[in-house]
């Protein structure tokens, strides 16, 4: 994993600068958890909320990561999340109206949401690869379209069945860890499996090697027989599916669609991707950190621990993220070919 992105031989300084932000972040998290541990129920609540808040950011960031690793910048994640949430909700809702069993209508919803976002991924690949359109424009088109279309087509008053909570037998009995990690909706677990999956796929498989190659040096990949265009299409569809799951996570927690319900999560996911420096495990750390700040913020606000206005609590996650990044002083180096269409010579 470490050799994958480092262009120069890793020096001690580079190693420190790579792990410093995580060390700071972990230290902060443990300090706060420790301070709160006098009340184990609160600590558990914050832990579980961290996992819940991190999951959609994680999947959104993975969507951006797979695209950019393949050489396509995707700023349309926000639109993909919103559109998949809408489509998934409508499919679940309509199939529940047709009196299908709850499980079936939920599964159909997830399939519908994921398919919608994958289709958007295909569209963006078409823009970037075949039309050689500017990728920032393609992403913006997706964002405006998704907000406009879902608001235009949305009719209030629809409902859909709730997602069940899955408690992992045995593991959920564990003190502290049980409630934090093993008592969530099914899609939340899936999000964390996706990170591990993408990490292994990206750094341990042929697909991963080719993906990184077409993002760094498509010409070289082409020379050894990789079909760059086809691969970029395929990866944007896979990436779209990830964002689709992120959208369905929003439905899992809200059980209904509402106008502009993604509310900037796709953009935050973009920040998480950059924070995680285009590495799945880095993204995991960044999403957990931001999720933790978010969870902490709502717990503190709930406790009325400090006598400050609620708006200031709302700023906490975002200010802390900027602070961590500024202190750590790390710049993400994007894949070399990200943003430019590949011209065969």
């Amino acid at each position: 994993m470490t050799t994958a992105t480092a262009t120069t031989s890793p020096t001690v300084k580079a190693t420190i600068s790579k792990y410093l932000p995580w060390a700071i972040a972990l230290a902060v998290m443990f300090a706060i958890l420790f301070a709160m541990s006098w009340d184990s129920r609160q600590t558990e609540a914050v832990g579980a909320a961290t996992v819940r808040a991190a999951a959609p950011l994680l999947l959104g960031a993975l969507c951006g990561l797979i695209g950019e690793r393949s050489g396509i910048i995707n700023i349309g994640i926000e639109g993909q999340i919103l559109l998949s949430a809408y489509c998934g909700f409508m499919v679940s809702s309509l199939s529940a109206d047709a009196s299908l069993p709850t499980v079936i209508s939920l599964i159909l919803g997830v399939v519908g949401g994921v398919a919608a976002s994958a289709l958007v991924g295909f569209f963006m690949a078409w823009c970037a690869v075949s039309l050689k359109m500017d990728q920032i424009i393609a992403g913006t088109v997706v964002n405006i379209f998704a907000l406009g279309f879902t608001s235009y087509a949305y009719v209030q008053g629809r409902t859909q069945p709730r997602y069940p909570n899955w408690t992992v037998p045995g593991l959920s009995e564990l003190p502290f860890v049980g409630d934090v990690l093993f008592n969530h909706g099914p899609l939340t677990y899936l999000a964390f499996f996706c990170v591990v999956g993408v990490h292994i796929a990206l750094f341990r498989t042929t697909w991963g090697l080719r993906t990184r190659a077409i993002g760094e040096h498509p010409g070289a990949a082409d020379t050894v027989g990789v079909d760059v265009a086809r691969m970029r299409y395929k990866n944007m569809i896979i990436a779209g599916a990830m964002a689709g799951l992120a959208g369905m996570l929003l439905i899992q927690s809200a059980s209904a669609f509402s106008r502009n319900m993604s509310n900037g999560k796709g953009f935050i996911a973009l920040a998480v991707m950059l924070f995680g420096r285009y590495r799945p495990l880095g993204v995991l750390g960044a999403a957990l950190l931001l999720g933790f700040f978010t969870a902490l913020q709502s717990q503190l606000q709930f406790n009325q621990a400090f006598d400050i206005p609620p708006q200031f609590f709302g700023m906490i996650p975002f200010l802390l993220t900027i602070a961590v990044l500024a202190v750590a002083g790390l710049a993400a180096r994007p894949p070399a070919a990200a943003g430019s269409p590949y011209e065969k010579e």
């Binding site: 823009c127 406009g148 608001s151 973009l270 920040a271 700023m315 900027i322």
Partner: protein, 357 residues
């Protein structure tokens, strides 16, 4: 000259037509009449009552947001934070508006500049973090959107320092003084002229000044710029400050020319539209004006379209997305319309070039 103008106007013209066709199809699917809808939209945007004034009013913040994004792009910076900067400018212009007691000729510009400068300060911080700490401006501006949104909410909220004592439970600031309100001439908002003036100024700055040359050089190739003796860090900070200043003034004009006070939630989404406008204008400051007028007219006409044809105004966003797509995809337009010589006026700036930091 005429030929060149025709050539460069052909693609946008065809893109708008195709975008409207996409919208018409959606309206048909919903079982409504597109002709009725579009005639209501045109009437609501240009004729009857104060329609044209409303179009100019809607176009003004779009121009400012578009300029903010366009200028930043020239230095290879992507400012997604127009929303937060606009809110900050709107709130601080309101503060300057209801606090000071000055003659109109001074009060209007003072409030505008206060709004702009506070936003510029935020922009300078973003630029500084990018220059000296390598923090990606996309991250910081996104995060600051949420921070500034919350902050301005608080300023006007009931616990906030600038709450309107006569507003009861309402979250809003007091009305600004008459002397800070940008007047209307014959029903037309003069804030629009301020925005157009700033667009021309931006064009001059980018295309005609030495500083603009340095900005563009830094945007195209940082190493070459450094080699040529350009202080890239200084450029990053100043450009980001200018960009945020423009968004802030956009918010200030909203406060002083339209709402006459700051009310959280009133300006939602305006900052993000700036990205669309800048892309539509292909980051050319002068082209930002017609692009903003087009979208402003659609926004202004959408309410009459809703009341006359019973069509949700959100369809406008779908049409706008289609227009942006077609402008960026001349090959598709050429394929559909069979028109010849459809070419995009490309200045060679790749918008995603700034992504790398």
């Amino acid at each position: 000259m005429i030929e060149r103008l025709r050539a460069s106007a052909l693609l946008p013209f065809l893109a708008v037509i195709l975008g409207l066709i996409v919208g018409a199809l959606l309206i048909l699917v919903a079982g409504k009449n597109p002709w009725v809808a579009y005639s209501a939209m045109v009437e609501g945007a240009f004729f009857g009552g104060n329609a044209f004034g409303r179009t100019l009013e809607k176009a003004t913040p779009l121009i400012m947001g578009g300029l903010a994004v366009a200028v930043a792009f020239k230095a290879g910076l992507f400012n997604i934070g127009g929303q937060g900067q606009l809110l900050l400018g709107a709130a601080f212009a309101a503060w300057a508006g209801f606090t000071f007691d000055l003659p109109m000729i001074v009060h209007i510009p003072v409030a505008l500049i206060v709004g702009g400068l506070v936003a510029a300060l935020i922009g300078a911080i973003v630029g500084g973090l990018k220059a000296y700490r390598g923090t990606h401006e996309v991250i910081t501006t996104i995060m600051l959107n949420f921070v500034l949104g919350n902050f301005t909410d608080w300023l006007a909220s009931r616990d906030g320092p600038w709450n309107d004592p006569e507003g009861g439970a309402l979250a809003r600031t007091p009305l600004i003084a008459d002397s800070a309100q940008i007047p209307r001439v014959g029903g037309l908002p003069t804030g629009f002229l301020v925005a157009v003036g700033l667009a021309v100024l931006c064009w001059w700055l980018i295309e005609r000044s030495t500083f603009g040359f340095e900005i563009k050089t830094a945007g195209l190739n940082k190493n070459a710029a450094t080699y040529a003796g350009i202080g890239v860090n200084k450029i990053l900070i100043l450009t980001m400050a200018i960009s945020a200043f423009l968004a802030g003034v956009g918010g200030a004009i909203e406060t002083q020319g339209v709402t006459n006070r700051f009310e959280p939630g009133f300006n939602t989404g305006l900052g993000f539209d700036g990205i669309t406008i800048a892309l539509l204008a292909r980051t050319n400051p002068l082209a930002v004006v017609p692009a903003a007028l087009l979208f402003g007219a659609m926004d202004a006409g959408s309410s009459l379209m809703q009341s006359q044809a019973r069509i949700a105004p959100e369809i406008i966003a779908v049409i706008q997305a289609a227009i942006l797509f077609f402008i960026a995809a001349p090959t598709v337009v050429q394929y559909i319309t069979r028109a010849r010589n459809v070419s995009s006026e490309d200045d060679g700036v790749r918008l995603s070039a700034g992504w790398g930091g």
